[in-house]
Each structure stands twice: as C-alpha cells, then as structure tokens.
C-alpha cells in the first residue's frame, strides 16, 4: 500500500496540469489563506474588544457553542441556500464553502483573542493605566503584545481546522487537495485518496510548524518559558481553542 501511495505521489502526471499536485496545493493554500484573513479581520478585533470592554461576553459563549455544528452540514446547508445566487458563475462553487469556513474559523480566533487579552494580569493593566496610558494605548502597547501567545495559538487551531475542512469542502466541487480524497473515494482509487490524505496531513503539519516558528519569532521572550527563572505553575492551557473538523 505504501508503495502504491508512493507511486501515486511520484508519478509525473501528478505534478502537472489542472489536476496536478502543485495546482491543487496552491488552490488549497490560497483558499485557506483567504478564509483566515477574513475570519481574523472579524474575530480578532471583536475578541479583543470584548475582553477589553468586558461587554458582549455571550458572543464568546455563542462562538464556542458553534464549534459543535458539524461542518459538513453547514457546508451543504449554505451551498443549497446559495445555489441559485450566482447563476452562470463559478463563484457559486467557491463562495459557500468560503463563508462556511469563515464561520468555522471565527470561534478559535475569537477565543484566542479574547482569552489572550482577558488573561492579562490585572496588575499589569492597572500599572499601565496608572502610568497614564489611554485605553487605546493600554490595548496596543500592553494587552495585545501580552495576548499574542494565545492569539497565535488560536490562529494555529483555526488554520488546522480550515485546512482540514477545506478538504471536506471538495464535496462542493471546489479545488484543493480534498479533490484527491473525494474523487479517489468516488472511483475507489485508494492510492489517490491515501496520497491526498498524506498531502493534507503534511500541509497541516507544515503550516502548524511555521506558525509555531512565527510564534517564537514575534512573541516576546519575556512571555515564553524560554527565559524563565522558575517553572511556571501549572496553569491549564486554554484547551478550549481546538479545531473540530
């Protein structure tokens, strides 16, 4: 089996053309990127604002509850609902899954931004205010930088989720690596399916690794364990910010 996956992966036919791996990979990455950018643009300011202002906390609960929605169902529901909207355009195929994925990516991003800002030590916030920072300055110079680790771990969760769910979105006739799985499934081509599955897993791992690296680069060393004198006491990590697809 491993050999047939390998054969599939290394066949020259797989590496060119409209159904080739580079194209599919590019489609997948591009779609996920778009989704994440849109979702972050919505979720981050909202989460930070909720934590900062202490209002609208129910939104966090709603977003968390939304994690229980089966992504497959949402994909189908939205696709059907929008089926008549884009007559004659291929947008009809890309818009619904994009919307659904944005909806699915928001909870982890929102939770990350909220928890990050919310968990800033009140004494630190207090000190910042006490030295004469305005609300905006407190948010920009203190809360956000300190929240960064949790914001980024929310991003990691969201990106895993989006990558995984865009794979399933292939049932709606969109491009991306999910095509190999869905098409392979349809024609019982296990080498193709398994090859696709491997590609998606590798992509997910790579993206997660890159974000981990990013986290190392942009998060202040003062906030990470790396430059700590004493071991931090066991604060349970925000187990809540995890993907569900």
């Amino acid at each position: 089996m491993i050999t047939s996956i390998w054969t599939w992966l290394t066949a020259p036919a797989q590496w060119s053309g409209a159904g080739g791996i580079p194209t599919r990979l590019w489609e997948h990455i591009w779609a996920c990127l778009l989704v994440l950018v849109i979702a972050a643009a919505i979720a981050w300011p909202l989460g930070a604002w909720i934590a900062h202002a202490g209002r609208g906390r129910w939104l966090i609960s709603v977003a968390n509850a939304a994690r229980a929605v089966p992504s497959l169902g949402l994909l189908f529901a939205v696709a059907m609902w929008m089926s008549g909207m884009f007559s004659g355009s291929t947008l009809a195929f890309t818009i619904p899954p994009t919307i659904v994925l944005v909806i699915l990516a928001i909870p982890p991003l929102l939770a990350g931004a909220y928890a990050g800002v919310h968990e800033v030590d009140p004494a630190v916030r207090d000190a910042a205010r006490g030295m004469g920072m305005t609300g905006g300055e407190v948010l920009r110079k203190v809360e956000l930088p300190i929240a960064l680790p949790l914001i980024l771990s929310g991003l990691r969760s969201a990106s895993l989720q989006v990558i995984a769910t865009w794979t399933i979105a292939a049932v709606l006739s969109v491009g991306g690596l999910g095509r190999y799985l869905i098409d392979g499934l349809a024609s019982a081509d296990y080498a193709q399916m398994a090859g696709g599955a491997v590609l998606v897993a590798v992509l997910a791992l790579l993206v997660d690794g890159m974000l981990a690296l990013l986290q190392r680069l942009v998060v202040s060393p003062g906030l990470t364990g790396r430059r700590r004198r004493r071991a931090r006491t066991g604060i349970p990590r925000a187990t809540a910010s995890r993907p569900t697809a």
């Binding site: 030590d121 630190v124 000190a127 205010r129 030295m131 004469g132 202040s220 003062g222 700590r228």
Partner: protein, 378 residues
C-alpha cells in the same frame, strides 16, 4: 501638597472611604495603614483617578485633580503596586522607559534615563536587558520603583510595594527606599498594612479603620507614645515604649572610656589590660567583641570572641544605645562613631536617665501642629 477634603467613595453596597480629610505634605512620606479592607488602596487610587471619588474633593497644590484629563494627570504621578505589575513582554529597561516614551521623549533619551534610574535603585546594568520573569521578587520591586521614578514625577503613590517579598529583602528595600527618598525628596503616599513598615518609613502615619474612616494621623513617634484610642493602640502593638526610643532626639550620653585590646594580643597582654571581668577587643579602633581575660587560654582570636553585644552609633537613636548596654556581657554598651570606631561605653542606667530627660512627644501638641519634615533615619 495633596489634600483630601471630605472625600467619600461609595460602592453600590458599601462605603469604602468615608469623609476623609487628610493632607500629604510635600517632600514627605505619608503612610496609610489599617486593617484589610479599610480603604487604603481606594484612597490612594483616588489620587490618580484610577478610582473616581463619589463626593468631596482632592487637590494637588490647590488644583482639583479633575481639572485635567486622567491620563495626563497620571503621567505626572508615579505609581508602584504590590506585585510591581511589570510588563512581562518588555525588558527591564523598556519597562522603565515607558513613561518617558509616553511623554514623547525619543527612544534614546528615554533609555538613557531608564539606565540612570535603574542605577539609582541599585540594579546593575546587566539587568537592563532581562525580562521581568528573570528577576527575583525583590529585583522586580526595584524595577517597579524605577519605572515609577523614571519621569521624575513630584508625587509617588505606592501600594504595599514591598509586601510580596520576604522579610530580609523587604528590610533591604525599605532602607534603600529611605536613602533614595533622602536624595529625591518626593511627595510620597505609601500604603501598607504593616505598622512597623509605616513607622519606619513614614514622616507621617495615617491609621484608618474599617469603614474608611481616619483613626489617627500623627508622626510615628507620637503614634507610639500616644495612640488615640484602643483600636490604634492595639494596631500599633507591643513594645511601643522601646520602639518609640527610635525617635527620641539623641541627647549627649555620659561616655566612659573603655580599656581595649587588639585582636591577636596574648593572654598576658589581655590580663594586664583590665581589672574588669570583661575586656573589649578592637581592631583598627573598631570593636570586635568581648573576651574574659581570666578564661583565655591563648592569643585572642576571632573565634574566641563573645559577640553578644550590639554596637550603637553615638549619634544614633537611644534605642540602639540602650540595646547595646543591655546586650553587652560587660553591661557596658559600646558606642562608635560614623566610621565604626570606638568612642566609649555607656551603662544602661545612664541611657535610661538620658531617656527620662528627653521630652516625651505630646499627642495634643502634635495633632494640631504641622508635620516636621525630613525624618531622622535611625
């Protein structure tokens, strides 16, 4: 001068501060003490408008604090809190440079200033690039103080700044803080629930009681000598008489000259030096301890010294002189000059007589009179 005029802070269900009238003289440390929940923090935070008062008025140099935007007011007031509240994501130097930067200084100047202030609080330059998590509790507190000092504000608010560190470090921080204040002469409001700390640091101590009311405001000595009521007396605690001696003006004590012997001297030399049971051992004129010549079996070594006696500065408070006399095995208290050189000895009875000659502070004089600035540090 910060002045509270009938300041009250009400919360929905309770009164945190109740008609507080209080003055915080310029260049002096005013300590707010009282049991937990008595409204110390609330009072402090009303000064920089972290908490807005419900009624009454707070003025700084006659100007109502509500006359300017809160953020602007705060930049002119240093604020130090219990756990320092350092920014974990910034290095020590960047923490300290925060207010200068907020005030629009350029980065270089702000950092230079930060280094300056760090030195002031006794943090060597190599700490500057560390992160707060890499510092001990005491070091963090120092950075907290440095950060508040960086913009050189005339007023500093300090909320139990030293309470999170262990007693030894705390004492050290207190001493440094007093020295620093001796140089800087800020107007300081210092909240603590430790009466010893208040007495040690305060030029003026305001004792609050639960319910946010003022129980007594007085100089530390007056507080020890004449607590206004049982609540204050209880709060001030035991050993008031002895502790009050820290504040008694130093009279000139009748000094006796003391025979001495150098460290390393032989048994015979020691026995020849005195007819008393105990003999004081010195080195370069500095007292080292006592020996009993009769019990010596060899030359006088550091190991064989009796070190029970404390040593007092001749210009220091009577408390130290009395303890020197009480602790000395020879019953003669050793007094030294500012360089630690022997000046003479004094007996406990003589110290007592001196104590009785000093005027006791009188409550009714003090309470109405002004605060004498520039605490004598014992």
């Amino acid at each position: 001068m910060i002045r509270f005029e009938g300041v009250t802070k009400k919360y929905d269900d309770s009164i945190a501060v109740d008609h507080l009238d209080l003055e915080f003289p310029d260049g002096a440390i005013t300590c707010l003490v009282g049991p937990s929940g008595c409204g110390k923090t609330t009072s402090l935070r009303m000064i920089n408008r972290m908490i807005e008062l419900t009624s009454g008025r707070v003025t700084i140099d006659g100007r109502d604090i509500r006359d300017q935007p809160a953020a602007k007011l705060r930049r002119g007031i240093g604020y130090v809190i219990q756990h320092a509240g350092l920014f974990p994501h910034r290095t020590v130097v960047d923490n300290v440079a925060t207010v200068p930067l907020l005030n629009g200084w350029d980065k270089r100047k702000a950092r230079a200033r930060a280094h300056e202030v760090l030195e002031l609080v006794g943090l060597p330059g190599n700490f500057a690039s560390r992160y707060p998590a890499q510092l001990s509790g005491g070091q963090q507190q120092r950075v907290g103080v440095a950060r508040a000092l960086a913009a050189d504000p005339p007023i500093m608010l300090m909320d139990e700044p030293f309470s999170a560190v262990d007693p030894v470090v705390r004492e050290q921080l207190q001493d440094e803080f007093l020295k620093l204040q001796g140089e800087l002469g800020k107007t300081i409001v210092f909240v603590t629930h430790d009466i010893d700390e208040a007495i040690k640091l305060g030029d003026q101590v305001a004792v609050m009681r639960v319910g946010g009311r003022l129980a007594q405001v007085a100089q530390p000595a007056a507080l020890l000598a004449d607590p206004a009521d049982d609540f204050v007396a209880d709060f001030v605690g035991r050993d008031r008489g002895y502790r009050a001696l820290s504040f008694a003006d130093t009279p000139s004590l009748p000094l006796a000259s003391e025979p001495t012997i150098e460290l390393g001297a032989s048994v015979d030399q020691a026995r020849a030096a005195t007819s008393d049971r105990w003999l004081l051992v010195v080195q370069d004129g500095r007292p080292q301890g006592w020996v009993e010549p009769a019990r010596l079996t060899g030359p006088i070594e550091a190991d064989s010294l009796h070190r029970g006696g404390t040593v007092a500065r001749v210009d220091g408070p009577l408390r130290a002189s009395l303890d020197a006399a009480l602790s000395s095995p020879a019953r003669r208290g050793v007094l030294v000059d500012h360089e630690g050189r022997l000046v003479g000895t004094v007996r406990a009875h003589e110290v007592l007589t001196a104590i009785e000659q000093t005027d006791r502070p009188r409550s009714d004089d003090e309470a109405s009179g002004g605060i004498r600035l520039g605490k004598e540090r014992g």
